[in-house]
Amino acid sequence: MHETSIAMGLLNSLEELARKEGAKRVLKVKVKIGKLSGIVIDSFVFAFNALKEQSPRLKDAELIVEEVPITYRCKECGHRFQTESVFFPECPKCGSANLELIRGEELEVVNAELEV
């Protein structure tokens, strides 16, 4: 459900950006969403596309989502690995649970393409 309010927040900041840049339209926007971010990508895209219709500057904006996998680094042996599981894993190489999450929590707007 919070996908809607996050999509709304993104559209507001794009509107602000377009105004500041004197742009006619926003053509593309790219976001990164980690698998641990708690965002359901389909709901987010759905909300974005439904809400963008209200703004002439935003209604043609294409949303590009890069899904970021969960990646840990083992603090014992340095091994990096990806996992699908949301549970706290163990290092597949040395079995240590002393891990650092390095990717997967992203929730970020990367860039936007404007028509000026």
Partner: protein
Amino acid sequence: MCDVCGCGQPENLFKVSDDTAKKNVEIKKSLLSKNEQVARHNKEHWDRDGVLVINLISSPGSGKTTLLERTIELLKKELKIGVLEGDIETERDAERVRRKGAAAVQLTTGGACHLEAPLVHKGYHALTKQMGGAPDILFIENVGNLVCPSSFYLGEDVRVVLISVPEGEDKPAKYPKAFKTSQAFVITKTDLLPYFDFNVEKVKNEALSLNPQLKIFTVSAKSGEGLEEWINFLKEKLKEKRKALQKV
């Protein structure tokens, strides 16, 4: 930005490149940056006022308000308690905790299923006005929902996730984010354990495998079981926070 106390910060995080008909703009900004900015501002208020802030997250009906009622009864002699009650519509929960002797402000989200930092900011200013000063502990009861509230940092010191015995054992696995982002986990309504298939040890282990740092409590607001550990935890956290604040 902060129209209440007038300490706004500028917000110009966009960086521009290129100059043709199409223009690329690097943004590199969290999708939640507005919320996070205000949350940090909230934290500044709370650190300045020396308030310990607890954000309670659970499904509807897990027993957040009931636990608060008991907590207030047990703490109000020694500490000033303030409550921000998040609800989609009604004033009911704020009235319940006021009857127990806490100051409370109801935050109605008008449909949104979680609290965001700006509404909490407004609520805190209203609360300190009502109290004529700051509380020692501020409880924020989030809207009953185990999904969204965990994405919105409010500036709290301690996030607490609650599961009641009748909800079943599978909740940690189904709502990992709430468990990963919390510092404490309260299993509520333990007086009902004889009537439900709910293996406390199994649930604890599952929660710990999501978040090994989690502090876990088992309480019954009805029988009073486990309340003492919970209360001691709160007092300990308040002491820790005040001590840390003295150092800086």
